[in-house]
């Protein structure tokens, strides 16, 4: 088992919560893990990414090589395209379609979506809308974890347990809302892959 993921988004969108849930499931499964994060200056509204690698064998590089990522998981559509050179020939692009516009020259939304749809293997999901549908407007990230779960050799029940562990302090209601977001994302991918 090996899964190399590029997590992408904009500083402040909270891509690291995705890594935390996946990381929990990976560690509980006894897999090796390396996860390179971005701290510091770029966090202030700039583009950020995290290299997330899990494997049943020891992992050397903290960075995913270009052309080797099995998944790009992006919480923002334009940001998903920034990491295409990393995606492998058989890799999947999984991205939120709700844009985060904090630059004056943000490209035409339709063109961004068109570029995403050019990818032979992609899941374009309006994670913001789905999160609202399950009455968890802040659960966008967990919708994407659910959407990605279909493409990973990682125990889905452990992802749920990860959510319990991470959000448990905030109460059962928050845990349930995030599991609902996770399930909704997973269902979407099953239907649309």
């Amino acid at each position: 088992m090996k899964c190399d993921i590029i997590l992408a988004g904009v500083g402040g969108q909270g891509i690291l919560s995705i890594a935390t849930v996946l990381g929990y499931a990976a560690v509980e499964s006894g897999f090796y893990l390396k996860q390179a994060e971005v701290h510091g200056m770029s966090q202030r509204g700039g583009d950020v990414q995290s290299n997330f690698r899990i494997s049943d064998k020891p992992i050397f590089s903290d960075l995913v090589p270009k052309g080797k990522a099995d998944l790009i998981i992006s919480v923002e559509p334009m940001e998903s395209l920034r990491y295409l050179p990393y995606l492998s020939e058989t890799g999947w692009l999984i991205t939120n379609t709700s844009p985060f516009k904090n630059i004056p020259d943000y490209p035409d939304e339709e063109k961004v979506i068109a570029e995403i749809k050019k990818q032979p293997r992609h899941i374009a999901i309006d994670a913001d809308a789905i999160a609202k549908e399950v009455k968890n407007p802040r659960g966008m990230n967990m919708v994407l974890v659910g959407a990605a779960s279909v493409f990973m050799d990682l125990d889905y029940e452990l992802m749920k347990k990860g959510i319990e562990v991470i959000f448990g302090k905030k109460g059962q209601e928050i845990v349930d809302a995030n599991i609902a977001a996770l399930n909704a994302g997973r269902e979407f991918s099953k239907k649309n892959k």
Binding site: V10, G11, G23, V27, Y32, L33, K34, Q35, A36, E37, V38, H39, G40, M41, S42, Q43, R44, G45, G46, D47, N51, I59, F60, S61, D62, L63, P65, K66, G67, A69, M78, E79, L81, R82, L84, P85, Y86, L87, S88, E89, G91, N102, I103, D105, Y106, P107, D108, K111, V112, E115, Q119
Partner: protein, 535 residues
């Protein structure tokens, strides 16, 4: 021995390592990518139980000196900083090589190749070599943890400070780390030689000879170090020296083992015998090192004779920037197929000031008065979130060089006749290195305006406690700025007119004016509000 595993950033592994290895004190000033070492120690319950010193220092120099004082008293200490922070701490750093240590002393310095969050990408290994002390360069989070134990042993065995050099990629990457049972801290014990730390010339000359004499011991330690490995390979057409993290990028390209002989180099001075063997056995040597080509340049020598060396200086690898698996693959002549190119419609997304940040209000006022009336080119700035004032929509500032340089550069430009000459510096940067520049300006009665953007925190690195908190005005007064020309204002939109008026009034004054916009950082304010809600 317990077999407990923890998921830790490289920075956190070093902090946990120091706590477990019996450190009695951490000393640091925040700086990406080193900040999380101290933050981890501050949040560690175990460190609290052990009563380990772990509050921030005013700057890297005071941090290094604090750690050295703890070492003098016989206890294990660590000073942590980013690479440019080591420049600030250079005086104690180099001289502590000559005084030597008493209790174990480690400098952990985090370099930032590719300048993700820095002004340069200097390589601290070169400064460790300059100070003639042993250097450790871990290739993984586990090694980072284990090397702290080793570093303290080495430090106490030879009574020398040790440099632990990491880079951004290790500092900010998480992996599983197996931790050991903690050992106890040292007892207070003064140096046997009570003049060891007195660097009067007569004593310093003797101490320097001790350091020089120790070089052969440091080299022997490197030759026999468990961290330096000679890994043989059948294909001798090339030998490879892979330093620190570069070893991972090499092995990423050879998952079934490297066909060439490899030296995994993680402890310096570079092991001469090991390298000699590689050079003699192989037709050429490729050096992979993150940062500057230090080992490569040493190997090549001035006259570039005898040895065929390849690396950053011969174009196999780029001369600047961080290494990665793809660059290393290219240097090995291996093909690696990349994914599709980034579509043209993708636009850069540079960092920017947070929405509602008080620095924005400050720059709006400065732009209206200074840029509006005198044009671009009058504003010297400094290191912090407010450096983002260089970017659109503000484009307000004309310099960012080093901590504190804003005030002294404004002073120098005023000496040259520039009017108006303006400095913009944050509160934490001011207490780091801005107070002595302001004193220079006060003594010379320079006609400058200094803005101390006081957001009560060290913002850029994530909101660490600022030494200036609640005392910026008093410090400025104490340095001799006339109280009539110390002006405070709350930088919010509705105070814009008042802010503009203050700047205009201070432009009329021929002397040092200090304007202090005071409003808490949006990020730390939100954190505090959330924390209060939880309670």
């Amino acid at each position: 021995m317990s077999k407990k595993r923890m998921l830790l950033l490289g920075d956190e592994a070093i902090a946990q390592g120091a706590i477990d290895a019996g450190a009695s004190g951490f000393y640091a000033y925040p700086g990406t990518p080193s900040t999380e070492i101290m933050e981890y120690a501050q949040h560690s319950k175990f460190a609290a139980e052990r009563n380990i010193h772990r509050t921030w220092s005013a700057n890297e120099k005071t941090a290094a000196e604090g750690a050295l004082g703890m070492s003098y008293a016989g206890k294990r200490a660590m000073a942590m900083m980013k690479h440019v922070g080591l420049n600030v701490a250079m005086d104690p750093f180099v001289n502590s090589g000559i005084t030597g240590a008493n209790g174990g002393m480690i400098y952990t310095v985090a370099d930032d190749p590719s300048m993700h969050s820095s002004q340069d990408e200097q390589d601290s290994r070169i400064l460790g070599k300059f100070a003639l002390i042993p250097i450790l360069e871990p290739s993984s989070q586990q090694e980072a943890y284990d090397m702290v134990f080793h570093g303290y042993q080495l430090s106490e065995k030879y009574m020398t400070p040790v440099l632990m050099r990491i880079t951004t990629r290790l500092a900010h990457s998480r992996a599983g780390v197996e931790v050991r049972d903690a050992i106890s801290q040292n007892d207070l014990k003064l140096p046997e030689d009570k003049r060891q730390f007195v660097l009067l010339p007569a004593i310093a000359r003797k101490r320097y000879k001790v350091l020089l004499e120790n070089q052969k011991n440091f080299l022997a330690e490197s030759e026999n170090s468990v961290w330096n490995k000679y890994l043989d390979g059948n294909d001798k057409s090339r030998g490879i020296i892979a330093c620190g993290l570069a070893y991972n990028y090499l092995m990423e390209n050879y998952p079934d083992g490297c066909p060439h002989p490899v030296i995994k180099l993680c402890q310096y001075p570079a092991p001469e015998n090991m390298i000699k063997k590689l050079v003699e056995e192989c037709e050429e040597v490729l050096v992979l090192e993150d940062g500057m080509p230090m080992v490569e340049a040493d190997l090549r020598g001035l006259l570039d004779r005898d040895v065929k060396v390849k690396g950053r200086m011969t174009g196999e690898l780029p001369r600047d920037g961080e290494l990665n698996p793809n660059l290393v693959a290219a240097s090995l002549g291996l093909e690696m197929k990349e994914g599709s190119p980034v579509p043209e419609i993708v636009k850069p997304r540079p960092p920017k000031l947070c929405s509602g940040c008080g620095h924005a209000d400050m720059y709006n006022a400065i732009n209206e008065v200074i840029k509006g009336k005198y044009g671009d080119g009058h504003v010297f700035s400094d290191i912090g979130c407010y450096t983002l004032g260089a970017l659109p929509p503000y484009q307000s500032i004309n310099s960012c060089v080093d901590m504190g340089a804003s005030i002294t550069m404004a002073k120098g430009a005023a000496d040259a006749g520039l009017f108006p000459s303006i400095a913009v510096i944050g509160d934490s940067t001011f207490t780091h290195s801005g107070m002595t520049p302001l004193l220079d300006a006060v003594i010379d009665k320079n006609n400058i305006i200094v803005f101390i953007a006081d957001n009560s925190t060290t913002g850029m690195t994530g909101g660490q406690k600022s030494h200036a908190e609640g005392r910026a005005v008093e410090i400025v007064k104490g340095l001799g700025v006339h109280p009539d020309h110390i002006r405070t204002i709350v930088p919010i939109r509705k105070n814009h007119e008042e802010f503009v008026k203050i700047i205009e009034e201070e432009l009329e004054y021929d002397g040092v004016s200090v304007i202090i916009p005071q409003r808490e950082c949006m990020v730390t304010l939100a954190q505090k509000t959330r924390a209060a809600k939880k309670k």
